[in-house]
């Protein structure tokens, strides 16, 4: 039986609840969990002031309620599983190194920011800065996998250096900005200035894209590596078609203002 957290009092201002991780809950009684500190605006509060705690710790946490103002859930988690029944606030899964987070609704900004490992599945939409590096950081997501079945906002995978971000819908402007390595696949469109200043890494889109003039067209070909990435996405529930798996892609190399070792692959049918 997992630990269940039911939101009984909706926070009036953002609630910083980075204590909600399986490793933090391990070996704690429900009373101890309820006594864990959270930051409610400028006031220190207890988790139990907002959540009813039930169940028992087995490495999994289930959360229910309107969590749009609850931030940092799963931040820094290293193992276990968190299932969020609806929408969730900022920084979910940021800096996590292991385990799995499932968001049944939408996630707002900075989901998986500077993530190191593990997996995040967002069944709705994701906000800005998905898997991105924080302001001032040179490196964003370094490992792990993020799957978004809906759309993602701007700066998805910014400064990313490893791992996989897969988006079932569209990804916003500056997707993969300052990217160092890793893979971003959008089954929809990518926004304007995607790949700006990228050094290495791969951005894939299944829709026509406006490519920065600092990217050069190389060829239209069938990238074999993409086949097992797309089959993996399909296995994770994203709507990948056979045409996309077997299809041709335009390859653009860039950003030439940097190393020019990055690539944008645009589905060509």
């Amino acid at each position: 039986m997992s630990i269940k957290l039911n939101l009984h009092t909706t926070p009036s201002v953002p609630l910083e609840a980075e204590v909600i991780t399986p490793q933090r809950f391990a070996s704690l009684s429900n009373e101890d969990i309820a006594a864990l500190p959270v930051q409610h605006g400028n006031e220190l509060a207890k988790l139990g002031d907002f959540f009813t705690v039930s169940g028992s710790a087995n490495g999994e946490i289930e959360l229910e309620g309107d969590l749009r103002l609850v931030k940092m859930i799963g931040q820094g988690m290293s193992s276990g599983r968190i299932v969020i029944a609806g929408d969730v606030g900022m920084h979910v899964g940021a800096i996590m190194s292991g385990g799995e987070i499932v968001v049944e609704g939408n996630a707002t900004d900075w989901a998986g920011a500077e993530m190191l490992g593990g997996q995040i599945l967002i069944r709705g939409n994701a906000g800005h800065g998905l898997g991105c590096g924080y302001r001032g950081s040179r490196i964003g997501m370094r490992g792990g996998q993020i799957f978004v079945q809906g759309n993602a906002g701007s700066e998805t995978g910014g400064a990313m250096r490893g791992g996989l971000i897969a988006i079932g819908g569209n990804s916003g402007d500056f997707t993969g900005v300052n990217m160092r390595a890793g893979t971003i696949i959008a089954l929809g469109e990518i926004g304007w200035r995607s790949g700006a200043s990228m050094l290495r890494g791969t951005i894939v889109t299944m829709q026509p894209a406006r490519i920065l003039p600092t990217f050069g067209y190389a060829c239209t070909y069938q990238p074999n590596f993409l086949r097992f990435y797309l089959l993996h996405l399909r296995a994770m529930g994203l709507p990948v078609s056979d045409e996309q798996v077997n299809g041709y892609y335009q390859r653009y190399s860039g950003d030439s203002i940097e190393l020019n070792r990055g690539e944008i692959l645009v589905f060509a049918g």
């Binding site: 490992g143 490893g162 791992g163 996989l164 390595a181 893979t183 290495r200 791969t202 070909y221 069938q222 990238p223 074999n224 590596f225 086949r227 097992f228 990435y229 089959l231 993996h232 798996v245 070792r261 690539e263």
Partner: protein
Amino acid sequence: MRIQTTEIVDTFAEAFKMWAARVIITAATPQWAMAAAQSMTGFATSIIGCKCEAGIENEIPADETPDGRPGVSVLLFAMNAEGVGKRLVERVGQCVMTCPTTSCFNGLPDAPETVVVGGQLRYFGDGYQISKVLNGRRFWRIPVMEGEFVVEESFGVQPAIGGGNLLILGPDVPATLRATEAAVEAMRTVNGIILPFPGGVVRSGSKTSSRYKFLFASTNDAYCPTLRAFAPETHVPPEAGCVLEIVIDGLDMDVTAESMRRGIQAAAEQEAMQISAGNYGGTLGQYHIRLHDLLMETTDEH
């Protein structure tokens, strides 16, 4: 022991500890995957002369391969893990990377040890190679004139069995070939084994000695029908005119033994005169596979 008219000699096959890797080759068509697999397994009949033994395990339908394309599974055996690694780098580099549309994947992801293959071949990319990591497995994309060659960084290697064998004796070449071919077909229905010689059959079985100082293996005179009246020792019955051998390498003893059992049964159904096995008196190999034990054991399906 007899199966119908076939005598099963009370002897054993003397097999050796080897190390093995499984290579999954995929390509745009089954034909190109097979072309690469055949090239990679060429000149790999015997560890003595070829530095490794390799063969095609089976064809793999597209929906069972890592990239959804038709594939072929190849097994490669050598005496130690390092040897497997060296041969893989040579053969994947020269025979798979060169073949149009292919990609190359590790077929033993849970093996206890790994050897670096793609991680060495990547240098062919001359700095233009690209690394990709998915689910903890690293792949290299090496740019080639046709597009890109994708090869996995490391391949699993595991302890394995080499040198299992059957000797099939018949009255003449056509009858012996018929029985041997049936045995080969039956043995290949077991996953995890290869028969590394041409068509799975070797006619020039060897002993581990020679009258010449520069040669450490020579013809198995005890099984040469033409020497029956001349050699110091013969195992060829007067009515036998041909002996053919099937050498088998397997990923473990279970699949090796099961394959041999199926081979014996199939050869006997084709009325082989006698079925025996090659050994060195039990002094060299770590494994003794007794033919009678194979036929008495109830084995699981593989």
